[in-house]
């Protein structure tokens, strides 16, 4: 069974300190996988590194056993909702259409088929009545659904989502998780950065627990234990953070050539 995402010694350094350190895991396909950890534990960074938005300083990742470049059309990224200025002059339709640019590239025009896919994505997230609405006039939950529709329009096999449930009303959250589950049932793999421990067990069958380093990874039933959660959320490893501080202050390289 081909893994969905694999990482090897994945390390990203910000301002001379590692944000994620030596992340090593292999994730299955066809599951909803949660990535969780305390604030600043590098969850967004991990997604961005896998997505190629940030270059890892050390290590690498593979998607479906290949380099990201070769399978880009199979991977879809849903950024954090607040990473974008929603005051931008665009309609709901315009944003979802961006999902088709992944295959169309910079220049190719959108075809009837593309239009159909956009409409279909909009209806899957129940945003069809808002198709021509300005994105500045949307609520938080509606904005998140637009992002989701954009990702759906890409028709990918792997979806990386950064905190899709933040600032979203309960009804929308329900709708989204239902949609994700149906996507999973259709064979898609979903990697979701999440913040709420209370819903984690319900949403995710597989989990990655992160605190700058990998604390645990595996089926939820195995890793969602008191000990592991304590280790994840109970503060940083003091020695590890001391080493990180020395790296930063003295400007040491992490690896030698």
């Amino acid at each position: 069974m081909k893994p969905s995402v694999e990482t090897h010694n994945l390390t990203v350094i910000y301002d001379k300190k590692p944000a994620i350190w030596n992340i090593d895991f292999t994730l299955p396909t066809g599951k909803i996988i949660g990535i969780m950890g305390p604030n600043g534990s590098g969850k967004s960074t991990l997604l961005k590194a896998i997505m190629g938005i940030i270059e890892p300083n050390i290590g690498y990742s593979k998607v479906f056993d290949q380099d990201l470049e070769d399978v880009r059309n199979k991977v879809s990224y849903v950024p954090q909702r607040q990473s974008v200025d929603w005051d931008f002059p665009a309609s709901v339709w315009d944003v979802v259409a961006m999902g088709r640019y992944a295959t169309k590239g910079l220049f190719k025009r959108l075809t009837k088929e593309d239009h159909r896919m956009i409409e279909e994505s909009l209806s899957k997230v129940n945003m069809t009545p808002f198709t021509n609405r300005q994105i500045s006039q949307l609520s938080g939950g509606q904005q998140q659904r637009v992002f989701l529709a954009r990702a759906l329009a890409q028709n990918a096999d792997l979806y990386l989502m950064d905190e899709p449930f933040v600032g979203v009303d309960a009804a929308t959250e329900q709708a989204i998780i239902t949609l994700l589950k149906s996507m999973r049932d259709a064979g898609k793999t979903l990697l979701v950065v999440h913040h709420d421990l209370l819903t984690a067990q319900d949403y995710f069958e597989h989990m990655v627990l992160l605190n700058s380093r990998l604390v645990a990874e595996g089926p939820t039933s195995e890793v969602f234990t008191k000990d592991i959660l304590t280790e994840t959320y109970g503060g940083t490893l003091t020695t590890l953070s001391k080493v990180a501080n020395v790296l930063q202050e003295k400007d040491f390289p992490m690896r030698h050539k």
């Binding site: 961005k48 938005i53 200025d85 002059p89 665009a90 315009d94 640019y101 992944a102």
Partner: protein, 428 residues
């Protein structure tokens, strides 16, 4: 009157120099508005200011090295230092503890300072008849010649073509850089295109409006366009049109009297457009908000006044003198008078020697508003679990907001009730 004749003679190209300045400012300013749209959307307006100031040392250096004021060399010099300045701002922000706005202030002042230094040096060296570089600080549009205009046209066309071709990528980059990267768009190339077109536009534009005012010409048209449209393509086109029009109008105004500088007038015109748009613009305009609020207040006054005429016993016609209705209401005298005249002009009441009587239209209207009030009271007492004595104030406000559709939904949801929380009848 003379002002108008001069404007007329400007637009009829009665003078060849006028024709040159007309085309030169039209092209320069239009390009500036187009390129500035992306600067604004990417929230890099301050960078526009940095570039404007940073072109000065490039122009001075080009002159010192080339020893002649060939406009092409000067534009190349300006483009180089302009581009270096943006690169430095980004580099410093990324690789040091210095924040973006500090880096901007730093680079802007350093580059401008070096520019002034070099200019002063040139001034002292006595090559004044060949330099005239001082004019770059405030622009000298009136001295444009045909070769300038040709240069602007060619470069302007290239810039426009680039932007049109890459419009999709540039828009996505401006909206969601992370997503753009994730779908494999060539972000570095797109950023390079934007920065080169911006810097070149500034390098050309400073000849008309000068270094100090250039950033206004870059940003203001796009900011103005945002008050009229919520779509990116119309916004870019509108910004181009507004800035081009400002270029032409500013030049025209500067033509009406002797000794008037063209560059500053262009900036005054475009700023005026922006102020007016902020006020009357279709999207987010202040005037629109004011008018809507005024409309709301009129509706509220009308409904509150007719409410006073509601007859709970007969649900029919009522008649009051002014003092009686005034005693009943909680309004000020003047407000009540205004409300009554509103009702009269809407034919909801008639007046006869100081007495006000409801018409059949008025009776219906009063019943409707009371019904809405009581339905709402019932709704919130049921679904918000409020006590009967807590629902009145809320309903006082909301009764004006309930549309006929909402009213029908309320009736359905409450199962066509007959009594409100105070046990009064709901009039149908």
């Amino acid at each position: 009157m003379e002002f108008l004749t001069e404007i007329w003679s400007f637009f009829t190209f009665s003078e060849p120099n006028v024709k040159v300045v007309f085309w030169g400012s039209l092209i320069l300013c239009s390009i500036s508005g187009l390129v500035g749209t992306f600067t604004l959307l990417r929230k890099r307006s301050l960078i526009g200011d940095v570039i404007s100031h940073a072109v000065l040392p490039g122009i001075a250096l080009a002159f010192i090295i080339g020893q002649q004021k060939n406009p092409l060399y000067l534009i190349i010099g300006a483009t180089i230092t302009g581009w270096i300045s943006t690169y430095l701002v980004d580099y410093i922000t990324k690789h040091s503890k210095i924040k973006n706005d500090t880096a901007i202030a730093l680079i802007l002042s350093v580059f401008f300072g070096v520019g002034v230094l070099l200019l002063t040096h040139i001034q002292h060296s006595g090559n004044a008849s060949q330099s005239g570089l001082d004019q770059f600080i405030f622009g000298r549009a009136s001295a444009m010649n045909m070769s300038d205009v040709w240069l602007f046209s060619i470069v302007g066309t290239i810039i426009t073509i680039l932007i049109v071709i890459f419009f999709r990528g540039l828009s996505l980059l401006s909206f969601d850089e992370n997503y753009s990267q994730s779908i494999g768009f060539p972000n570095e190339l797109l950023k390079l295109i934007l920065s080169i077109t911006t810097v070149t536009t500034v390098a050309m534009g400073v000849q008309a409006v000068g270094v100090v005012l250039m950033s206004a010409l870059l940003i203001t048209p796009a900011a103005c366009a945002k008050f009229w449209t919520n779509k990116i393509i119309p916004m870019a086109i509108l910004a181009l049109v507004i800035s081009g029009a400002s270029g032409v109008l500013g030049s025209a105004i500067s033509y009406t009297y002797n000794g008037m500088p063209t560059g500053p007038w262009i900036v005054v015109v475009v700023s005026l457009f922006a102020f007016i748009s902020a006020f009357i613009g279709r999207k987010n305009g202040l005037l629109k908000k004011y008018l809507q609020r005024s409309k709301n207040n009129t509706k509220i006054l009308r409904e509150n006044t007719i409410k006073l005429f509601f007859n709970p016993k007969t649900l029919g016609e009522t008649q009051f003198s002014f003092e009686d209705i005034f005693a009943k209401s909680k309004m000020q005298r003047a407000t009540l008078k205004k409300g009554l005249s509103l009702l009269k002009s809407d034919k909801l009441i008639t007046t006869n020697q100081g007495t006000y009587t409801t018409t059949s239209l008025g009776i219906e209207e009063a019943k409707t508003i009371v019904r809405k009030h009581r339905l709402w009271e019932l709704y919130i007492s049921k679904f918000m679990h409020l006590q009967p004595d807590h629902v009145h104030d809320d309903a006082e406000g909301i009764e004006h907001v309930i549309t006929p559709e909402i009213e029908r939904e309320l009736e359905k949801e409450l199962d066509f009730p007959t009594k409100d929380p105070h046990d009064s009848d709901i009039p149908y």
